[in-house]
């Protein structure tokens, strides 16, 4: 039994390796703000959100669409989904409770006893889960939920629950343990195996019979410690395999609940975020993902979800029309919303790829298989390398990891040397990336670099400029336009020194 709510055909792996540039992505895209909003203070939700979003670059188109459908169902039935999530949590907690006293037990009888207890608790939750499935299945439309509910109904019939209960009762060994054995090396008993009494009726006779003393009965005196111990050892050896099987069954069911919890946690996180954005009056939409090999990138009213969450208010959105191309160059006024826009592109890409809604009125892009950020960094405190050195070293790391359909987001890169050198390096690097069909979004003040590219009049290249109102104020809107030689830094200077 598998929940399969994140992938159609496989489990979610919370231990999977995240991309090597995980830390850069988190830092540059302010991802912790996003995870935090999804988690709402819950560590586990945070962990799952982080894992899902950072691993989303591996998802294929089908997975993205599969999750979008499930998420739509979740938004529609949010309280039911939260109920199921809660059931999973309760089941997991009940197992922990039973473990509390017998965690270190080395005795199969104790393992058996504990497992029986845990299974009773699990069965209660499984029955509730099955009932939800039975009652509400028709409120759900997604393939994911439909097959999940169908599986619950099919596998967990009333007969099944009854047979499990029979077994659990029998395993409490009310009639004593029937154990078979053979002669091993040195003629000691081996292969002690717990046996099932044959037939219910018969075994009641058996029970009476077993209490009768025969010539082959050994009765152990209460003061005989060795004898008493031997008796329980043989009993333990006999119960060993059955206890193991039962304990492993517990683990399997626990595994099922844990997987259910982990997979739902992603959607619960999405619900949390959805609620907060709705409260801010921010729009969200389900994006249109395109195959990785195509080149699409367009958006209406795309905003930086992290900025909105931090400011706790609606923020400025921007448009992008960069279909068919690989290059977006963003220049213009300082404090004009360039970095914010760059970040919103990265965030929207990741959110789309993990099956979420995106912060925009509409959004469509091809899936990418690598997302890299190359941002300005603080001066290296350890003084181990110069700043330009450090920048190039990070660029070299990225170059090592680039894949065919990657996106690289540059934010004021190669500016730690003079403009001419910086431009030349940037030009050389970007030329190679474009030849390799890698998507580049580059926020820069390097005029020569930006303008030389502009002069090339490349098809489908997009040049955006952060707007400056004639009075020097900023609208945070980006408009298409030729790179300018000034970034209006004087405006800021004036603002600060007045």
């Amino acid at each position: 039994m598998k929940a399969f709510l994140l992938f159609k055909d496989r489990d979610f792996d919370l231990q999977q390796r995240l991309p090597a540039n995980e830390q850069d992505l988190v830092q540059d895209l302010e991802l912790n703000t996003l995870f935090g909003a999804m988690a709402g203070g819950d560590e586990f939700l945070f962990e799952v959100a982080k894992n899902c979003i950072l691993s989303s670059l591996d998802n294929d188109l089908d997975t993205v669409l599969y999750r979008q459908d499930i998420l739509r169902d979740c938004i529609k039935n949010s309280s039911l989904v939260r109920d199921i999530y809660q059931l999973a949590i309760e089941a997991i907690a009940s197992e922990k409770e039973a473990y509390f006293f017998t965690f270190f037990s080395k005795y199969p009888s104790a393992i058996l006893g504990r497992s029986i207890k845990v299974l009773y608790a699990f069965m209660t939750r499984l029955r509730k889960l099955r009932n939800i499935a039975k009652e509400h299945a028709n409120q759900f439309e997604s393939e994911g939920f439909r097959s999940f509910f169908a599986m619950l109904v099919k596998e967990l019939s009333d007969e099944y629950f009854a047979s499990v209960e029979d077994h659990l009762k029998e395993l409490e060994l009310p009639r004593g343990a029937l154990i078979s054995a053979e002669l091993g090396k040195s003629n000691k008993g081996i292969n002690y195996t717990l046996r099932k009494y044959q037939g219910t009726k018969q075994s009641w006779l058996e029970w009476l019979f077993s209490r009768r003393t025969t010539p082959y009965t050994i009765t152990i005196d209460g003061r005989d410690q060795v004898g008493t111990r031997t008796l329980s050892e043989i009993r333990d050896s006999g119960v060993n395999l059955a206890a193991n099987a039962l304990a492993q069954s517990c683990d399997h069911i626990l595994g099922f609940f844990k997987m259910l919890q982990a997979e739902l946690a992603f959607y619960v996180g999405c619900l949390n975020l959805h609620g907060q954005l709705a409260q801010l009056g921010e729009p969200t939409c389900f994006p249109l993902p395109i195959v990785p090999s195509a080149r699409r990138h367009s958006a209406r009213e795309l905003y930086d979800v992290c900025l909105a969450l931090t400011m706790k208010q609606k923020v400025v959105g921007n448009h992008l029309d960069a279909d068919h191309g690989n290059l977006v160059i963003i220049t213009g006024a300082n404090q004009g919303g360039k970095s914010t826009f760059l970040r919103s592109l990265g965030l929207a890409q990741l959110m789309m790829q993990c099956g979420m809604f995106v912060p925009a009125e509409s959004f469509s892009a091809n899936l990418c298989d690598g997302l890299f950020t190359h941002y300005k960094r603080e001066e290296d405190v350890a003084m181990e390398s110069g700043k330009f050195d450090e920048e190039l070293s990070r660029m070299s790391d990225i170059a090592d990891r680039l894949t065919a359909n990657s996106i690289v987001l540059f934010n004021e890169s190669f500016a730690s040397t003079n403009e001419r050198e910086g431009s030349e390096i940037a030009r050389q690097i970007v030329s190679v990336l474009l030849e390799k069909q890698i998507k580049v979004v580059f926020v820069t003040h390097l005029y020569k670099f930006a303008h030389d590219l502009y002069d090339q009049k490349m098809d489908h290249a997009v040049f955006l400029r952060a707007e400056r109102q004639p009075d020097g104020s900023r609208s945070f809107k980006l408009v298409e336009g030729e790179p300018l030689q000034t970034s209006f830094g004087l405006d800021l200077y004036t603002k600060v020194f007045n």
């Binding site: 598998k2 489990d11 199969p108 393992i111 047979s163 499990v164 077994h167 395993l171 009639r175 004593g176 343990a177 029937l178 154990i179 078979s180 054995a181 053979e182 002669l183 090396k185 040195s186 003629n187 000691k188 008993g189 195996t193 717990l194 046996r195 099932k196 044959q198 077993s210 209490r211 003393t213 025969t214 082959y216 009965t217 050994i218 152990i220 005196d221 209460g222 004898g227 008493t228 031997t230 008796l231 050892e233 043989i234 009993r235 050896s237 006999g238 060993n240 395999l241 059955a242 193991n244 099987a245 039962l246 304990a247 492993q248 069954s249 683990d251 399997h252 069911i253 595994g255 099922f256």
Partner: protein, 510 residues
């Protein structure tokens, strides 16, 4: 040819008495080497085998052939599995002697015989399937084939198998309730763990923890288990009376030649396992050509076994060294900076010759070595609070003793003698000893701080421990053949402090 021993082709070579470690063992670190080789194999008491150097070339070849055969991995594994079975057999017998209940003792004896038969039969089959070149293994194969084909062995094994099959067919049930255990016959009731697994099959999620508890109560029984066994025996009287007869009939089942082989083959196994550990790090072993006539010896890429073993344990690299003696050359005089590996080099020379005399492979890529009549070593004894006169005297007495014993077929290792006197004294005394050594025409390695010894005569060869000129503190542990001028490293050290001619002239601007 009849098979006697895998160590000696002829009976008369085999020294029966237990032997003491040879005197030079500690100086050459051979005590550590043998300890490491025989570690974990104490029960075979292998050390005495390492105390007896062979006296003729043919005996050495007999062992080298066996070593070569054993380098066939399959054969080596076959031998190891034979040894493992014989070990288990002995364990069973040991346990039997400790046990109290008869029906258990007898079963252990049966188990021991079973594994013995299996071991011998398997080995005979394995050897028949192997292309053997050594005289030793061929003779053993012939012996085993005869033994395994004999009526005695076949009867023993047939009876053993029959009895074991009967015993393993015994199956019984226990009903445990309150403080009672009831023994009765088994009635094919269903295994509960299978039922449980089937019931919960649908939840299977991949690998989970194994909750099976290992019950290791040892072999012995207590009175309850014995009583259960008694009841089981009473329910199967025929099988258990057969067991009684079997035991009294077969007390001397073990073949003596096979038992001796089981111990002696471990000499080879132990050495090869030890060598294998070193080989894994890239070190080499080879079969030396051994001569009792020709004193032109050489070894390339040799190393000190004891040191190498220690270094690889600490994951440190091992430095190999070469040597050769040609024509009239007999004495290698080793000088150079301290801590440069001089003593190690001297030990290598000694260890290699000794191992060769045991018939063992030796460290190195290729080697030719001399079959000595004795190895004599003089290493400085630990510093102790004696007056200098006493120490020097002691040195002289010991060296005199060495020269008395030495013949032209000996190997002598001298390590830093006469350190407890003035340089002049040491020089004069050393030269006297050197003259005597040369007269003996003996193979010798001589570690000294006295440079003049290196160019004493055409019989002496100078070898020097080396340093890296840029960083004299760094040790190379390389000993190379070159004149002992003592200048190369002195210059390097001076340069480091900018005290050479050119540097000093530049610094001092007057």
């Amino acid at each position: 040819m009849t098979f006697h021993s895998i160590l000696f082709e002829r009976m008369e070579e085999n020294p029966e008495k237990a032997l003491e470690e040879p005197e030079f063992f500690i100086n050459l670190n051979l005590d550590q080497v043998v300890k490491a080789i025989t570690a974990g194999k104490q029960e075979y008491n292998l050390k005495p085998f390492f105390y007896v150097p062979l006296k003729d070339i043919d005996s050495i070849k007999y062992r080298q052939e066996i070593f070569r055969d054993l380098q066939n991995d399959i054969l080596f594994e076959n031998i190891k599995s034979f040894a493992q079975k014989m070990f288990i057999m002995r364990e069973y017998l040991k346990q039997r002697d400790k046990l109290y209940y008869e029906s258990q003792k007898k079963r252990l004896f049966l188990d021991a015989v079973e594994i013995y038969c299996e071991a011998v039969d398997r080995l005979a089959q394995d050897l028949s399937a192997t292309n053997l070149r050594s005289r030793g293994f061929r003779a053993l194969r012939e012996y085993l084939t005869g033994y395994v084909g004999s009526a005695v062995f076949n009867l023993l094994w047939a009876e053993t198998k029959k009895l074991l099959a009967d015993l393993s067919s015994v199956k019984y049930s226990l009903i445990i309730y309150d403080n009672k255990i009831k023994v009765r016959k088994y009635e094919s009731e269903a295994d509960y763990s299978v039922e449980v697994e089937e019931t919960f099959q649908k939840f299977k999620q991949g690998a989970v923890k194994d909750y099976r508890v290992k019950h290791d109560t040892g072999v012995s029984m207590n009175h309850i288990e014995a009583q259960i066994l008694d009841f089981v025996a009473q329910q199967h009287p025929d099988i258990f009376s057969n067991l009684d007869n079997y035991c009294s009939k077969n007390t001397s089942y073990l073949d003596r030649t096979i038992a001796v082989f089981d111990r002696e083959i471990q000499f080879y196994v132990a050495f090869l396992e030890y060598a294998e550990e070193l080989k894994r790090t890239g070190l080499k072993f080879c079969y030396p050509e051994v001569s009792d006539q020709d004193k032109e010896v050489y070894d390339y890429e040799g190393f000190d076994l004891a040191l190498a073993y220690k270094l690889i344990g600490q994951k440190l690299p091992v430095v190999c060294n070469d040597f050769y003696l040609k024509g009239k050359e007999r004495i290698i005089v080793v000088s150079g900076p301290n801590q440069g590996g001089k003593t190690t080099f001297a030990r290598i020379f000694g260890q290699l010759h000794y191992l060769a005399s045991l018939g063992c492979p030796v460290p190195g890529k290729t080697a030719k070595l001399f079959l000595f009549d004795r190895i004599l070593t003089h290493f400085e004894k630990e510093e102790n609070i004696q007056d200098l006169q006493g120490k020097l005297l002691d040195d002289l007495v010991r060296i005199n003793h060495i020269l008395d014993q030495a013949t032209s077929n000996s190997v002598i290792i001298m390590n830093e003698i006469f350190t407890s006197t003035t340089l002049d004294d040491a020089s004069i005394l050393s030269k006297r000893i050197m003259e005597k050594t040369i007269q003996l025409d003996v193979l010798c390695v001589w570690v000294t701080f006295i440079d003049e010894l290196a160019s004493f005569s055409e019989q002496t060869v100078s070898m020097v421990s080396t340093i890296v000129p840029e960083n004299p503190a760094l040790r190379t542990y390389k000993i190379v053949r070159k004149p002992a001028d003592g200048l190369a490293y002195a210059v390097a050290i001076a340069e480091k402090y900018r005290l050479t001619y050119n540097s000093l002239k530049e610094r001092v601007k007057v």
